[in-house]
Symmetry: D2
């Protein structure tokens, strides 16, 4: 099975390299060819266009950073798609965009899978991503081997849209947890408790989590280098609340956390890490 | 160093037995003597009263279930306290009660340590509790060996009251996290996503936590056997918010979560596990 | 100046009749002609189509109940519009729809005014509506006389979209107020205070309002006949919060109230009056 | 019936003067005698102590500014109380203090009425206060005439504590309304709508209220001279939420508004008018 990998950014490069390392035959393309260099060096072949890449491959993987880019790439690649081929978009896009891409791919006779990932740069390098898949189940079965190469887990969740929804649910919980954590750090500090001790106590008990362990020290230090930008976390809270709204389901904790992220955005934290919500609590 | 252990309930019995197992000399007392039997069988000597136990011991440990009981025990034990002795209350009480107990103990010339624990029955049995200590630091130093026997970690946090505050901060984060988790489970279910799959996805990622792993399956099953009763969780949210109020610090996420626990109490979940907050979200 | 009035529903009929009573020459149209009968009886002339009505009139007023209907009517009427004519949409529509209608009208060479009203059936009958106008100021000036006939006040707020925004702001305050009122009624009742006495106390003080005076007694009686359906109030909260989101402005009180309306919707109150939010607080 | 009036502050002076103007025989006392001068000039007789005033009068009215002062005055006045006399405390105190004062008064054989007022300086001068009475109903009946002199309405609400609760309910609604109003003003401004126009639109519709009319212009002007200090409003929100907590009743809108007042306090607005909550929304 020949693979194409479209999109060579922070996530795409290590993912494609992991595929190559595992012995897959990978044809690569990126809007700016220079970014594809590390993948070519690792043994990938460079395609002249997204359509060319699609033409050469049995299955196309796509990892780009915005819904707009995902749509553009799908339109371009569609010229190279055909019955028997598969198109797996592992970018994170909204349900509407995902449905549009599904239509484009299927109109070309190919199968479609949305497969947004949980995990960022480090898990991408370590082949430890989690794929939240939805769409054509036969394609899901077909791509198990590359998914196992790039990730530590993959789930099939149903029709197109369900992968995006699962990701929103997880990110909503994450956003509220981070808001709660920021409040706890602030209350500790104002109560003359050492926030570092709080981190240690938390790390030993029932609420310990990799996120608290990873973000806690930098939050205490007041540094917020963006691993996951705050504006994207707030967008996911908004979309999760909109999903809940459609379902007439109240989410008071998430709604309160969302307002906190909006407050942080008002104070200019859009491009900082989402843990900078601490500043909105503490100023 | 001779120890006394007052209070032989779900937590006290395994804690006292762990002390004996480690070779400590332990004199035990309980309001109803029968409950002390397992500790006596394990090698403890039974005291006729709290005062007698205090007279015989160098350091007294107390583990009872309410602030009222903690106060009663302190008043009774004080008759046996004297300079050179220490009194360590590992019960969870409010800051006011803790300060009163400190006064009683110190009026008798003894040293005082509040040391509320993080952890419940299982960690008590496994010697894996976490002690949040505050009060007389010299007593803290003196009791390191028994604390190490009963727990996996202990912290000295400052003046009397700081241990209680640390516990409130941790429980406040825990309460908000559980509220967020309950919302996530509900949103998943209403979005036709399998909540069990959500548990699995969560367990693999940055927000994985022992609490989600432990409580998730029973929440999905709709069972809420009380490990930590909901009314106590709500009480801790209320006290944490009151602490924040004194400090003029807003806590919007915790406040929203607190209202959710109040809603659950309105619906009659006082004595169920605090994870029953799920029912308030989902009905 | 010859007027057309499109849309003969609960609001449109009394508004058109008020125009006729004041001596205006009014041509009327409704999708189902029967509904236009009361206006024809009062002296209006019946047009065969929205386009015909637009052809005959200098200024067209439109009052329909949904954005979809407003758009359909605009498309139809556009065939009869021409330079020198004006088109005043007094329906409540979202900003996007209003902008689309503005384009359609202006493409036909006519001027456009969005003029959503504050006030419902009774103020429509009494000529006591409030018009929140935005769009072409020259048209605003031109229609002052009919606006004065139908309403007690009218404001010019700027470019197309500003009328809709003003209405959202007012309805957002209203929604939060009603949520607060519902909580107060519930707290009174649970505190063994007579809610009717609360209504009286409120009516005499600084927070007295026509809304509390009107809705309070039916809320205490537990009846919620829909003057303004709860689902529409919740939609306005959602849109106001979305507007705030675009502006990176947090609105924690409105967000909490919005969740309460969503809870009421979950409990099936979509088509009851928005004061039925009381049931979500009180159950 | 001879009256005593204890407490000659901003509220007490005009209230006592209104009693004199209506022909009542009033004996007056204040901790610092100078403040009583305006009442003496208006025809009151000055008592040497609270006890003396109580001895001379059939019914004692008390208006002081804190629960502590109310308690001190009651203790002092009790020496002059006796069976057949009445003691009416129109100060605003918490339920606990009110219950203590009731015990003190009744231990002296006298009857007790708590009667906190709704209304501030201007209504006190105009005899337009609202009295929320609770306690001994026979005393309520006995003091109708002076209450009618000082106020425009009075209610009997039941046992001691019910007056305080009614006041909390009203102030809780008021606090949430003000929070909602502050959010509306902010959203208007950020949407390029003139906040003054919003005030006008609000004043004409269903949500018009004396509070919005009075506070709106100063809020738009950014001035917050304290008529009702923000820290007191926040205290009332906190007490109302505590009352709801005891009753296991969730109040999500009030809880969100309370956090907003706490945020304003964090930013230093304790002693500004409670409408300064606008600054917490808008910064």
């Amino acid at each position: 099975m020949k693979l194409a990998f479209l999109g060579c950014g922070i996530m795409g490069v290590p993912m494609a390299k992991n595929l190559l390392k595992a012995g897959h035959d990978v044809c690569v393309w990126n809007r700016t060819a220079a970014a594809a260099a590390p993948v070519v060096e690792a043994g990938g072949t460079l395609a002249a266009s997204a359509a060319d890449a699609a033409r050469e491959a049995d299955v196309v993987f796509v990892m780009v950073s915005t819904p707009e880019a995902a749509l553009d790439v799908a339109k371009a690649a569609a010229h190279g798609l055909a019955p028997g081929k598969g198109y797996v978009d592992v970018s994170t896009v909204d349900a509407g965009t995902s449905a549009t891409i599904a239509s484009i791919v299927r109109a070309a006779g190919a199968e479609f899978l949305e497969a947004p990932v949980s995990g960022s740069k480090k898990p991408a390098e370590d082949g430890a991503l989690i794929f939240l898949c939805a769409g054509d189940e036969s394609l899901y079965t077909k791509v198990k081997s590359p998914l196992e190469t790039m990730g530590k887990a993959h789930f099939f969740l149903g029709d197109v849209g369900q992968g995006a929804k699962m990701k929103l649910v997880v990110n909503m919980i994450m956003g509220s947890m981070m808001g709660a954590f920021a409040e706890g750090l602030t209350l500790a500090e104002k109560s003359d408790l050492d926030p570092k001790t709080l981190l240690e106590v938390v790390s030993l008990g029932a609420i310990a989590s990799p996120m608290f362990a990873l973000k806690g020290p930098s939050m205490v230090a007041g540094t917020f280098a963006p691993a996951f930008p705050l504006k994207h976390q707030q967008k996911d809270m908004r979309l999760a609340l909109a999903l809940a709204d459609e379902l007439a389901q109240d989410m008071p904790v998430a709604a309160a956390a969302n307002e906190l992220y909006k407050r942080a955005r008002r104070d200019g934290a859009d491009d900082e890490d989402f843990s900078a919500v601490l500043k909105a609590v503490k100023k």
